[in-house]
């Protein structure tokens, strides 16, 4: 079977096209002047520039983390361009009619129609192309409910008090190397505020697209769910197929006030590189949420893209009775490497967390789960349950599990279960003997393996995730 897997491990990355959009792109390089120019392009207030420069100075003193189970050549941060925007965005479009049709076509090609009438009922979309937000749909309808959903660059102007209060409040500037870099150079992303007691009337989603060559994408997302509110948010990501590696270092911060609930889902399909590991996105992302009393944050991620992934969506369970959840499917193939997992920091009493991680490795890829569960002294009666399953396809890939458990409270309970299994020849033979193509069989077996996670995704995206997995597995068997 292995030989056949190797032979047939070729698939098309469907989102690999390049859009012909005229862009204004900064020359490569990073210094305080570049940061000032980014800030000037965004017409930012002084305090924002100061915040960026402070982060930049912190970043310069830091060094790249090296503990992850991934291997890639050293990044030269002076070779990256830190700002790129479609030229037609210079005079910001007021409505969809004013958006460059080529941009709209790009999103249509990706299966994300931005024309509101054609959209999936009840999903508002923010589309970020390279460094800027192109369009945000359904804004009026959301405004009626008091929900703010806009590009973060706009929020800096319109809602400075909210941004000042919460930006960097969950992920501090000096949290880690990539987060510090993001603070210095972030260009756009989404800002969401749900007022007290409001249940957001529709799914919110942001699609990120890298188009330009040699640019990094540094988006910043901030979601604040005020007391007793609820929001479900989804992000999707794609990039063209290029031989060079591109850096993506995002920061996502979630704030769930008392009794609030945030459901954050990610379908990540950045370009994964070719069969030999050339090209692809370095996906170095910091995602963290803070839960106040009785609040709940649920991270669900389906990760199939990127050549190197370094990502640990986490929950700080500060308030009593708060709940953190992490559901993850990470699929690696060819020479992809993923080091992903979560951190659940239990501070409050009776806090609960659940971690379900499903790693699938094919080809010559390496897939690691890394998770921390910490029970602080105040976490009386706290509970965690972790389940970590790995599925191997073929015999040249690797699956690794690095669980860290730190319990400083004797009344806290931590449970950890882990399994490793293979898509067996027997399973494939059974499926084929019943008339199924081997590819359909593998995708069915893998989908079955991921079922517990997929059921956490919003319905339409669960279908999308299943399809994505199917495409990603194309050619995984002979």
């Amino acid at each position: 079977m292995t030989e056949e897997i190797d032979k047939a491990l070729a698939r098309q990355y469907e989102a690999g096209f390049v859009s012909d959009v005229e862009s204004e792109t900064f020359p490569p390089g990073l210094d305080e002047d570049v940061i000032a120019r980014i800030s000037a392009r965004k017409e930012e207030p002084e305090w924002m520039l100061e915040w960026r420069l402070k982060a930049y100075r912190t970043w310069k003193e830091m060094s790249e983390p090296e503990w992850a189970h991934v291997d890639f050549p050293k990044i030269n941060y002076q070779d990256i361009s830190y700002y790129s925007a479609p030229k037609s965005m210079a005079d910001k479009p007021k409505s969809l009619d004013e958006v460059d049709p080529e941009l709209l076509r790009t999103y249509e090609k990706l299966g994300i129609p931005l024309v509101e009438q054609q959209m999936l009922a009840g999903v508002a979309v923010d589309a970020v192309f390279d460094s800027v937000s192109v369009v945000t749909t359904f804004r009026e309808k959301l405004e009626e409910a008091g929900v703010i959903f806009c590009p973060i660059s706009e929020a800096v102007h319109k809602y400075p008090d909210l941004v000042k209060k919460y930006l960097g409040s969950v992920v501090p500037q000096k949290d880690n190397y990539f987060a510090a870099l993001n603070c210095a150079v972030f260009t756009d992303g989404s800002f969401v505020y749900i007022p007290k007691g409001v249940r957001c009337p529709m799914e919110l989603s942001t699609y990120f697209r890298i188009n330009e060559q040699n640019t990094g994408q540094f988006e910043r997302t901030l979601i604040v769910a005020d007391e007793g509110s609820y929001v479900s948010y989804l992000e999707g990501c794609t990039a063209p197929q290029r031989d060079e590696n591109q850096l993506h270092a995002a920061v996502v911060e979630l704030v769930a006030m008392d009794d609030a609930e945030i459901k954050y889902s990610t379908v990540q399909n950045w370009y994964p590189g070719d069969e030999e590991g050339r090209g692809g996105i370095y996906n170095f992302v910091t995602k963290r949420g803070i839960c106040h009393t009785n609040a709940k944050i649920s991270w669900t991620q389906v990760e199939t893209g990127s050549s190197v992934t370094w990502k640990y969506p986490s929950c700080v369970l500060k308030g009593d009775n708060s709940i953190g959840e992490f559901y993850s499917v990470a699929l690696t193939r060819a020479k992809q490497q993923a080091d992903t997992g979560t951190k659940m920091i239990h501070l409050g009493k009776n806090t609960r967390s659940t971690i379900i991680s499903k790693g699938i490795s094919a080809g010559r890829s390496n897939n690691s789960y890394r998770g921390l569960v910490r029970m602080n002294p105040g976490a009386d009666g706290a509970r965690n349950f972790t389940q970590c399953d790995s599925l191997l396809i073929g015999d040249q890939c690797g699956a690794h599990t690095f669980p860290y458990v730190e319990s400083k409270n004797p009344s806290a309970i931590v449970e950890h279960e882990a399994t490793t299994s293979k898509v067996s020849d027997d399973q494939l033979f059974l499926c084929q003997q019943r008339g199924l193509d081997p590819e359909k069989a593998v995708s069915m077996i893998v989908n079955g393996f991921c079922k517990e996670v997929f059921k956490e995704l919003p319905m339409e995206f669960a279908v999308e995730a299943g399809k994505l997995l199917e495409i990603s597995l194309e050619g995984s068997v002979g």
Partner: protein, 265 residues
């Protein structure tokens, strides 16, 4: 009058790794017939089913096999299935998280697609599947459970028969479907098979014991030994074997019975 064979196997030779297991096997099965294949362990009984269905690792080195005119040995495993070949496994494997219903519908749809038909409607399929469940005495909730996930041995075997009922193959090969079954489960399996006998569909019942043949009456019984059919007869041959064992047939053929008795999977 002579009727065209449904399955025709001529001079079939096959090996696993470097060991030749089938050494020139001939078998002809006409529509509607039930053939029992008996024989000592290691004779190649399971190998026959695997070779005909195309399992990896079983290399054909000679001979031919046609099913309803289709050259079996030239086509992929799934194409053989769609051509009407069904193998009920001795040890059905589990597929966690994939519901029986999803698995069965995908299989049925793959068969339909090969025949140029649209996928079956979910409603219609559910009705058929529930009916099949009832027939093999499995509660309908088994349709929602993962394929063979946590099933008992008997439930797995009944699940195989349920798949057979839904796929409606031309030729069913039952690979020791009686092994590990109590008498009640055995009857359920046999009833499932008997309900499908319609004068067109044919069966190959591979078994070590005569017991199953009390419930599924064969038209022919063959003794497979050292990779060949060494004796054929009617149902009475099975009784004879039950009474006398295999040694009277096999000793005259091989001077090395130990070699022959090695289990080959």
């Amino acid at each position: 009058m002579s009727q065209a064979a449904l399955l025709s196997v001529k001079g079939l030779e096959a090996k696993v790794e470097d060991k030749t297991i089938l050494k020139g096997l001939d078998l002809e099965i006409k529509p509607g017939e039930v053939h029992a294949i008996m024989g000592p362990n290691g004779a190649g009984k399971s190998t026959l089913g695997y070779v005909l269905s195309g399992r990896e690792g079983y290399e054909v080195v000679g001979g031919e096999a046609t099913l309803a005119g289709t050259e079996l040995l030239d086509i992929d495993i799934e194409e053989r299935s769609r051509a009407g070949l069904f193998l009920a496994f001795q040890y059905p494997v589990e597929i966690p998280g994939v519901s029986n219903l999803e698995f069965l519908k995908s299989s049925v749809d793959a068969h339909r697609e090969a025949q140029g038909l649209e996928p079956i409607s979910s409603k219609e399929f559910l009705k058929e599947a529930r009916e099949a469940c009832k027939q093999v005495n499995l509660p309908a909730e088994f349709l929602k459970r993962g394929v063979n996930e946590g099933f008992s041995g008997g439930e797995k075997k009944r699940n195989e028969i349920m798949q057979m009922l839904l796929l409606k193959p031309k030729l069913c090969i039952l690979d020791e479907s009686d092994s590990g079954l109590d008498i009640d489960a055995l009857q359920v399996v046999a009833e499932g098979v008997n309900s499908m006998r319609d004068g067109e569909r044919s069966f190959v019942v591979v078994t070590h014991y005569q017991r199953l043949l009390d419930y599924i009456k064969p038209d022919f019984v063959h003794v497979l030994s050292d990779g060949k059919i060494v004796k054929s007869g009617d149902a009475s041959l099975a009784l004879e074997l039950e009474a006398q064992g295999y040694s009277w047939l096999t000793e005259q053929r091989s001077a090395d019975p130990i070699e022959m008795h090695k289990e080959v999977m």
